[in-house]
Amino acid sequence: MALFQATDITRRFAGVVAVDGVSLQVDEGEILGLMGPNGSGKTTFINCVSGVDQANSGRVMFDGSDITKMKPFRVAERGIGRTFQNLRLFENMTTTENVMCGGHLRQNTGLIGALLPSRSRQQRNAEERERAVALLREVGLEDRIDQYATDLSYGQTKRLELARALNIEPRLLLLDEPTAGMNDRQAAEILGLVRRIQRDRGIAMIVIEHNVPALVWLADRIAVLEAGQVLVEDEPEIVARHPDVIRAYLGEEALEE
């Protein structure tokens, strides 16, 4: 049985059907690439399955349990982490604190626990800090430890968000355009990092990405959305040669000119 299975997800906004009966599944440790033109419903799909938005109909199963109507924080508790297309970092915290926030579910003490003096808590705090520093090193931010998140370059903030999402120890990671707004070299670095993380940790992922060759290199399987529906879903090489995909992408390029 698949780790993650979304069945027939539909989301309408004021008459527009943004996601129209999309069914997708991800196996343990697999990377599913998600592509499609702007407005094809990729982000809306991610929002619906992570609880940020509520689908009008459909069902989401994760690790054998139904998470369809769950609030986003419950979805995170179950082990689904995510990043956002337009970054959602904590602006008034340092890089290390941002990553430590990812450990919230492990550190939860409750009000009474917080008031009582406790050595072990101090020690746990130190451990969490070390963990965060290790994660910052893993994503290549070793020279940015303890600096304010807002002092980072754009590419670095994307890495920081990735490290933060990793700190909840997800079994499935949803990456919404991790390379948006980057040049080719930066984008290649980030995707290389994503690949390495997947190999080292065996986390399943859904990655939204526009660059077709990059996604073919990264993903185990690719699904293409168009106008809210799954156009094709197959092995990367097959998807890349699919005439509908070529047409859809030429169409988008024509739009850009």
């Binding site: 959602r88 008034n92 604190e97 917080a114 808590r121 807002t150 909840i168």
Partner: protein, 346 residues
Amino acid sequence: MTAAQQTTHAEPARGPVERWLPAGAAIAFLVAFPFVADGYLLHVANISLIFILLAIGQNIITGYTGMLSLGHAAFYGVGAYTSALLTLRLGVSWPVAFLASGVVASIVGMLIALPCLRVRTDFLSLITIAFAQMFFVVANGWMDLTRGPMGLTGIPRISIGSWVAHNDMAYYAVFACIVVVTYVAVQRILNSSIGRAWEMVRDDEVGALSLGVDVTYYKVLSFGVGTFLAGLAGSMFAHYIRFLSPDAFLLLESLIIMQMAILGGLASLPGSVLGAILLISIPEALRSSEPLLITYRPGLAGALLVAMMIWRPQGILGRTRATPPIVRQISDTLRRLVGARPVANP
């Protein structure tokens, strides 16, 4: 922005001296103060101690969790009336009434705020002002219970067992202890996962949700703790002044508490202490010599608020940096997006 802010480490390693020196100095000052101050100064100090609690409560709600509550004085009033009525009508002892006033204010606060915090936190400001108006109408109109505008008189002095606080010095000792204990407790909460969750909620709710933070729970908890402190402060006030009337808890008072939290520094505990001391003592000092300043105090305070939000939103001692980096980042992002793709993905 200064060069120092660009690259400084937010929390430099601190040795035991750096950590304990400010605390030691503060305690030494608290202990020494009554021996050098005259009776009037001691009175100002007692009022300041009450307002330190109020400012800290407001700061938890507004500075740490990012919710605008404009009815803090009403929860202060709920605490004051609870404590006064419990001791006057039911003969409850002060320590019990003191804790009860915190609990009652907190429960009322959470019930008032819950519907709003679930859906539209922005509207908390409206809801809290509305609650303050309702509180005034009830306190003013329920003659049998509160004696309305005539006020409650003869509220007993603070007493613990057989010991009674007979003069301002005794009140000072009790108030100082309460404030120190509260300060340490709040510090602990802020350093725990709760404090960090509050700051996550303030900076980005959706980001916090994606990390497993139950945003509504932490908002309600923050409001509950903040109004608990307001209730405690109300009890202190009621048994110190020993007279209560509804007009001590109007919107203007809420705005002053808000100004204390902002002036000292949003998301800074020492800032709240400083803000409360400054905004109690400065008007006291100017009351007789500059009456016009007092008349137009709201306007002056308003101008100060606007100026601070623009140039120093983090207040005098605050660490929160709310404006410049965000503006820079948004404009950078927009520029990149424009370069990369003509239309943003919905």
